[in-house]
Symmetry: C2
Subunit: 645 residues, 2 copies
């Protein structure tokens, strides 16, 4: 398991206790195993990021260094994925790469291919942008994964020596600094949990406490960019670079849980609440600025400029999981579910060999497929690309999918809690149960008990928040059927083998309307079906139409279409609504016909065909060639009268 707190409301289950057997996530994980891991490994050889370690060992640095200053971290993220993966091929690859890394570690534990050699910057001379501690963080997480999934090996030993070096260098009396990119905090806590060594926890707590006191330089984006603008426990909302903010929050939860610091935990919960209420996309995506990959101001959530980085989705799931374990509150699993289905699952292509870096909610222009074998600029990733100049996302998806079974269910002293639904077998504490479902396509979840201890215990099932306003049903083993409200449904009894519990979740498609304060989507609606956000994609429209021609009729309920699609009623605007007008702003009392180029040109009447419009799950878009796409669809009743003309 990736997170193993010693305290908290719930206890996680490990990969040996939860097995995903089939369904949505099984398919994703199969592709991850058979395609994505090898794809990332190949690319990292091709672009020389693994080669950096060989070059270091052979004294060819800095001349032969490739990639950005944080390239080491992507190698470590791949190793973490390989460690969780547990198959022999992944293990062999892990060992090979580890063999390349080991000789680069210096006698005092320092390990980085970008700093410290003649011709390179000095160690820790650029805490703002050097990412040295960030790289250790991913290395340590990989080491912990190895220890837990495969038993402590060479990688774990390297990680521990690096962590010792960090404590010696940045501990009391050492450098009074923090890394520009948080990540080491959560890694050090996990290493403390895995090893029992409390120094690592102390160092993590020190890093969390030091952050926000202005030890880093004031960059062009402001110190909020790396959360050095105010102490963690004083902040009221997440801000700055989204991945940095979320990793830091996850680390702060880890520290709070292990040290019993309830004030710190409460501070992060408050920040999470405010961020979800005001700075999160319908998909669960976070971060609306391309410029600094950052959260915008409250309610600045433009769909067409959504950054919603894949890694921010991964980081949000990490934070949600930690908050769920600490508090037991289902709202954290709700956001994790939304983010897993609509951000994390949206990033990789169907073949697992290309990825979204940014996850826009509105694509106005058909993209172009990157030339084979080239890496892509990160922010232009409006078509999935095989690799990026900064390529944090593919390996982040890979490590998340590799350990996904450990994010689905928990135990406590009373029983077992199911937080996410997919076909899976769980075996823990004398209980064996099988979850069978076609979720999220269908809403029926059946839990079969095949083994149970003799005493009474409680099976808890999350009833997703998205069922609000409809009715979900729970059927107990004795056939009793009752409506269950969003939150947690519980069945407590002395279960027997053969007992079956059924949860029926109403995955009928529904219109979703935004808070009017999200200015950028005023006058539009989206469709959600179960946990899945849907979108219009141009490949499903009549030839020649792009998604911006769609207007939807809010008075007609969306209905299920074939193969997991949804069909809504609406219009496709054609003719002069699509024509240029000389100036796109017109007096309200002015002429409604567009000025024509010449006095004799007849005004083309506006025509709109009434039609059904197919919406596909957002995570599946852009798998059928270049297309335009949008999640938030304008309604047929224009909010302001003059037509486009």
């Amino acid at each position: 398991m990736p997170v193993a707190p010693t305290r908290g409301r719930l206890r996680p289950l490990g990969l040996d206790e939860v097995t995903i057997t089939s369904g949505f996530w099984a398919r994703r994980r199969h592709i991850n195993t058979t395609a994505t891991l090898g794809h990332c490994h190949d690319w990292m050889e091709r672009v020389g990021w693994i080669g950096n370690f060989r070059a270091a060992a052979e004294g060819r640095l800095p001349k032969d260094r490739r990639g950005r200053e944080f390239a080491d971290s992507d190698v470590y993220k791949l190793l973490e994925a390989m460690a969780w993966e547990r198959g022999p091929d992944a293990g062999a690859a892990l060992d090979t790469i580890t063999d390349a890394i080991a000789p680069v570690q210096e006698p005092d534990g320092y390990l980085n291919t970008a700093f410290g050699r003649p011709g390179q910057g000095p160690r820790y001379g650029d805490l703002e942008w050097g990412h040295e501690l960030y790289c250790y963080g991913h290395m340590i997480q990989a080491g912990v994964a190895q220890t837990r999934a495969r038993g402590e090996g060479a990688l774990a030993k390297i990680a521990r020596r690096a962590a010792d070096h960090v404590c010696a260098t940045f501990g009391p009396g050492g450098i009074e600094g923090v890394c520009g990119h948080p990540q080491i905090e959560t890694a050090l806590v996990e290493l403390a949990r895995a090893t029992g060594e409390q120094r690592y926890l102390g160092q993590a707590a020190l890093f969390v406490d030091r952050r926000g006191r202005g030890t880093l330089a004031d960059p062009e984006f402001g110190r909020a960019y790396y959360q050095d603008d105010m102490p963690v426990r004083e902040a009221t909302i997440l801000r700055g670079h989204a991945v940095r903010a979320l990793y830091l929050a996850a680390g702060a939860v880890d520290v709070a849980v292990e040290t019993g610091d309830d004030d710190l935990l409460a501070a992060v919960v408050r920040q999470w609440e405010a961020t979800v209420a005001r700075r999160t996309y319908l998909t669960g995506g976070m971060g609306s600025h391309h410029r600094d990959e950052a959260f915008g101001d409250d309610f600045v959530l433009p769909p067409d400029r959504a950054y919603s980085e894949t890694c921010a989705g991964v980081a949000s799931v990490m934070l949600c999981w930690r908050l769920l374990l600490a508090t037991g509150e289902p709202r954290f699993a709700d956001l994790a579910e939304r983010t897993l289905f609509n951000v994390v699952a949206a990033s990789p292509s169907e073949d697992g060999r290309s990825f979204f870096y940014a996850n826009t909610l509105h694509r106005r222009r058909r993209g172009t497929v990157p030339p084979a074998g080239t890496d892509s600029p990160r922010a232009e990733s409006s078509l999935r690309a095989p690799w990026f100049a900064v390529s944090c996302c593919p390996t982040n998806v890979a490590r998340t999918l590799a350990v996904l079974p450990a994010y689905l269910a928990t135990t406590d002293d009373h029983g077992i809690q199911l937080h996410q639904y997919t076909d899976m077998d769980i075996a823990t504490q004398g209980v064996a149960l099988q979850v069978r479902t076609d979720y999220p396509s269908g809403g029926r979840v059946t839990v079969g008990i095949s083994s149970s201890p003799g005493h009474s215990w409680t099976l808890s099932l999350r009833v997703p928040a998205w069922t609000e306003g409809t009715t979900a049903w729970l059927t107990e083993p004795d056939g009793t059927r009752r409506a269950v409200a969003p939150g947690t449904a519980e069945v407590t009894r002395r279960f027997r083998p053969g007992d079956e519990i059924r949860l029926e979740l109403p995955v009928t498609p529904r219109w979703i309307a935004p808070d009017p304060r999200v200015d950028a989507i005023r006058g539009t609606l989206a469709v959600q079906r179960g946990p899945l956000v849907h979108c219009a994609e141009s490949v499903d429209l009549p030839t020649g139409h792009e998604v911006d021609a769609v207007r939807v009729d809010r008075s007609a309920e969306p209905v299920d279409g074939p193969q997991g699609t949804v069909v809504v009623q609406g219009e496709l605007i054609t003719s002069d609504q699509a024509r240029d007008t000389p100036w796109p702003y017109r007096p309200l009392d002015g002429p409604t016909e567009p000025p024509t180029d010449g006095p004799d040109e007849p005004a083309t009447p506006t025509t709109a065909e009434r039609t059904g419009i197919t919406l596909v799950p957002y995570h599946s878009w852009a798998n059928r060639g270049p297309s335009t796409m949008r999640v938030w669809l304008p309604t047929t009743e224009p909010p302001v009268s003059p037509p486009a003309g």
Copy 2:
């Protein structure tokens, strides 16, 4: 005059022919002369950008170099402003700074403080980002200004030597490259016009032709960033970095006009049309990306993330002026007017000592005043700041205001054309006339003829496009009054001293509605009064309200308020509309009351006070302390039913 074409439909007038006597622009120019020029000079000494030249002369480079690689260019822009300014103080300062620059020019004409010395990058080793030709461009424009306004002096000679060096280095057989930042093109054409030396024109034409052929590296933002993605004459719309795109387009017009290249001119006109129709803010502002300071895709015009750089406004006015001279079409003066009043005039504070870099149309958070004496990050300029780390905007405003009289009127073989309205005296070709008006506060423009040749000629007056849907009136010297349509109104006669022509423009405030394709402002309206865009600013709301509480009633016409303000009817939303909800997206058929924190908490009813809301001219906002502001105001009829709660 800044632009003196040898061909084209209209001929510009010079600073000795047009004098602004009082009114809106006279006040702005007075502040420019008495405050802004000195402010820029002081700051450029403080941050060491003038000192770079002294350091170069004294052999202290690169050690003592300050500022970014293009810092020289801001010194040149200040010199251009000082040259146009023509007062003795400005002249003395110009000479002093020129004395510092002169010794830095190398024997072959090369001049740059950032390249070419031991420890610096080699000359022209980084055409993408080095800005060497860009710096020459501004130097040459300053030299031309000196020649025209004060007579050729030392600066003009330096510029000419630099231009000779450019021709020798980048001409046929030389480096087959272009500069990452266009600017040299228009400067070289102007130098050709000022000196009669056709080599400079040929070099400019060569640079325009070379652009778009991929000679520059493919950067993270793509080659469109510096318009190296396709040849100028093949492009259909402006794209990439807005200032770069607009400077290049201006240079292409200059080349097209001087070489009689009608195809090239037509290509730029097409690009301008498409850009104005699809990629321009109501203010005339251009550029909706913070990340790469670039144009967005069509209709991507988020008000809260508007970049709308001040320099892009200046560049747009430069392009409009050139297109107006070439074609005589009033639409180019229309956009110039809009941009001058709502972008260029918005940048400087009332005291002329702080500036907007970006000109957002929606500010949601009160800004903080930068600490005295510090420069500011450019994109955080949501409050005006005295100086920026990249400080192109203050000097760009200064040079534009210094030469503004030359952008107002023209002549041709038939008479005189008035394109912009302010109190001004014009004396040219035997005609003396006086324009008197309180425009843009009032709409009455009176043109008095005090001297006229004996023959008949035509006085042309632009009737702004913003009068569309209302009626403007023209009164001829004989008292005849007639309605005039948007475009050009002409009076042809043998004018006599004492003749008076009156234009009445209906500057009543009007609601403006956006094209529905501008998704980010669906369901909102703005107010324009004459050429002025208005906005709500929190300092005009009852205490405790921010602008996002405003909802306007579109059924009530906006009316004039005191002192140039406009008053609209609307509501200020309070209570639970302003409260956080746990999640800002809700099923359309779901409960309309927000979930409360606990079951016993009563739902706070939504209340909205009906009230008049004062809107101030956009250019004047943020002169009364930190505030929130928005141009596009949601209407009281919510476009989609569920309330914010």
